[in-house]
């Protein structure tokens, strides 16, 4: 999985791993938009460039096994990586693809990830990630969820 430096188009290998207690002490809501400590009862993952410690993106989610679904609670790239002047692109896509992998790993053909962006942002997610709409909820299932995983996978 890779992210792209917008200015140079250079690609960087990334790691996505669990956030630990020490990470939570360094994460600020100024740079990462939310109070992530409140999410510590859920799974929280961080995205970093391979070999580096700086956290460029975060996602928290809940596995709802009885529905064979993973619901994304919070999702954010770091402050300098959002908007038109972002340094790196594909942070959100990689985090979504990683959560999608977890869903397929657990639920195979029933795999589903869901999220509920604000109305004006929903269109963006529908277009960019081919998400399905159900009321306020956007979701990805087979086959689109597999396409997302493939899109952000490294293998040629």
């Amino acid at each position: 999985m890779k992210i792209v430096e917008v200015s140079s188009n250079k690609k960087y290998e990334i790691n996505i791993s669990r956030v630990d207690k020490a990470d939570l002490d360094t994460i600020t809501s100024e740079r990462h938009f939310f109070d992530w400590k409140k999410e510590k009862t859920y799974e929280i993952l961080k995205l970093t460039i391979a070999g580096e410690k700086d956290i460029l993106g975060l996602v928290s989610f809940e596995c709802i096994d009885e529905e064979k679904r993973i619901h994304i609670r919070l999702l954010a790239a770091s402050e300098e990586n959002v908007g038109k002047d972002k340094i790196y692109d594909d942070i959100i896509g990689n985090l979504l693809a990683f959560v999608a992998q977890q869903a397929v790993l657990k639920y195979a053909e029933w795999a589903c990830i869901s999220l509920r962006p604000k109305t004006q942002l929903a269109e963006h997610y529908i277009t960019k990630y081919k998400m399905n709409v159900t009321g306020m909820t956007l979701s990805l299932e087979v086959p689109e969820i597999l396409e997302l995983i493939e899109r952000y996978s490294n293998e040629d």
Binding site: L74, E109, H124
Partner: protein, 168 residues
């Protein structure tokens, strides 16, 4: 905050009732979408799951004596075939020798591994990405795991036979 530009999402439900209502709606839609999935799409999802399971096993090996290789192989065969004998036929081995491999009564031969690799390359074309060496990696990782997990059994005898003393 301009969410549109930021892609930043706060999806937390405001109440359990909201979550329940939306979940019910979503499940109805998902069942409908599921009913329209083709057989190939279901295969594709199951193969992707298997590939991710094997990758996870390689990434975070657990030192145990469980037969991971044959468990993955069984899943692979049972995903693609109604009968294991059909898989045996497709890779030109006898059903008996396949059964012995699956039951851990016989080690897979080099030729079996090569046939499995080529068969998997074709099957995994459905999901576009497949490491040719993954079956080998799983097989040898399992051997390492077994060896490390059974040190108490083999180490005392082996220690006696090694004459070399440590420098320390």
């Amino acid at each position: 905050m301009n969410e549109m530009a930021n892609e930043v999402v706060d999806s937390r439900y405001s109440s359990s009732r909201e979550q329940r209502d939306e979940a019910q709606q979503l499940m109805e839609k998902r069942k409908l979408r599921m009913s329209k999935l083709s057989r190939a799409e279901v295969f594709k999802a199951k193969l992707m799951q298997l590939k991710l399971q094997m990758e996870e096993f390689l990434r975070a090996p657990v030192y145990d004596n469980k037969p991971h290789f044959t468990t993955f192989l069984e899943t692979y065969i049972d995903t693609l075939y109604d009968k294991r004998s059909e898989f045996a036929k497709d890779i030109a081995v006898t059903p008996v020798s396949l059964s012995q491999v699956l039951n851990n009564h016989r080690e897979p031969k080099e030729e079996f591994m090569l046939k499995l690799m080529v068969h998997s390359e074709r099957a995994f074309k459905l999901i576009g990405s497949f490491h040719k060496k993954i079956w080998y990696q799983v097989y040898f990782q399992e051997k390492i795991n077994e060896t490390m997990a059974s040190q108490e059994q083999w180490r005392p005898e082996v220690e006696k036979k090694i004459k070399f003393e440590s420098f320390a």
